[in-house]
Symmetry: C2
């Protein structure tokens, strides 16, 4: 079986096993849900993903206009399909290993992830923020928005973890910034990348 056939077959199995849950999602959101399950084999993503109204359409429009994607981990950046992104003029950036980020974080006693989001804000461009690891990145994004300094086109809020993660996600869920969030503890860099890829592939399918 060729890779594309395997993917098609996998998606069929996922949709079948989702059963009635599959038909509960609008198609555009279902494509995101399925890709999260595809990357984790974890059917909890059939229940825990939350899309703010119109989030997928907002994201697709932003991608078509060549939005910049900023991730909080190099792993999430590595998982994003660079060819699909580049074909739309979409740049994928991650600042977590930048020496100036480490210095600034140390000096101010904040996390490197929080500083990364400030660096995303300083780009002065439309940005999709994809957060798969650090709740502090989400908290900083919310603060920057509240201060009127930065408003991402979309926040993908899927950090994974046991401490501060649920609360940080709730903060984004309650905000009016367009978002796709995995409620609860689950998520990860792989899930952040899967959501971005699901959105990229939808744009390419429409083209």
């Amino acid at each position: 079986m060729k890779p594309l056939d395997i993917e098609k077959k996998s998606m069929e199995i996922i949709e079948q096993e989702l059963g009635e849950r599959a038909s509960a999602w609008p198609l555009k959101e279902l494509l995101v849900v399925k890709r999260c399950i595809h990357t984790s084999a974890d059917f909890d993503y059939g229940d825990n993903l939350v899309f703010s109204p119109g989030a997928v359409d907002t994201a697709l429009d932003a991608l078509k206009r060549g939005v910049t994607i900023v991730t909080d981990t190099s792993m999430a950046a590595a998982g994003i399909n660079k060819r699909s992104a580049a074909a739309l003029g979409v740049e994928v950036l991650c600042f977590i290993s930048d020496p100036d980020v480490a210095e600034e974080a140390k000096r101010r006693g904040v996390t490197r992830s929080a500083v990364c989001m400030e660096k995303a804000a300083a780009l002065g461009r439309p940005v999709i923020a994809a957060v798969g690891n650090a709740p502090t990145a989400l908290i900083r994004l919310k603060e920057l928005a509240d201060e009127g300094k930065f408003r991402p086109e979309l926040i993908i809020g899927v950090p994974v973890g046991f401490v501060n993660v649920v609360e940080a996600k709730e903060m984004i869920l309650e905000s009016d910034i367009p978002h796709i969030v995995a409620k609860g503890r689950k998520g990860g860099s792989n899930i952040a990348a899967a959501i971005v890829n699901a959105l990229l592939y939808q744009v390419h399918r429409e083209m």
Copy 2:
């Protein structure tokens, strides 16, 4: 809370929620299990990980001797703690984006992942193969071993998926090559990286 405190607290929560399952694992294996749950918030890893006898000790010895780690995805490579690896003289390699791998795969009608494992074999050095994505990488590793051409110090066999994945893992589970495998569909590049990191941190803890 500082990152290290958050990690400590997270591991305590994981151990608590694992309950009796935690005490069923030998400590060295439990540290791997817990890090897989830490990276996914998925407690299925409390049940589905299989360690061949002495696999962790074999891995720790290999890491102390500066084994080379070869992954099947750039995402898994990105997730491995490079500072911990470098401190042991451990190199982390991934060949999936190499132009010669793509060419060779196309020419022979095999997957790039399979060719990557051949390239790992051709290094002529001790290797830990960490497979988070491609069942064909596991199948090729088994074939190379059967042909007497290549025997990794350890196979981390945790591809995720719905087609050919379970069967490829069974092939490794039945082999005499030291292995750590996530039985069933689950796994991923994040899990492959988490297992490598759990092993690296154990070496550092012992030092």
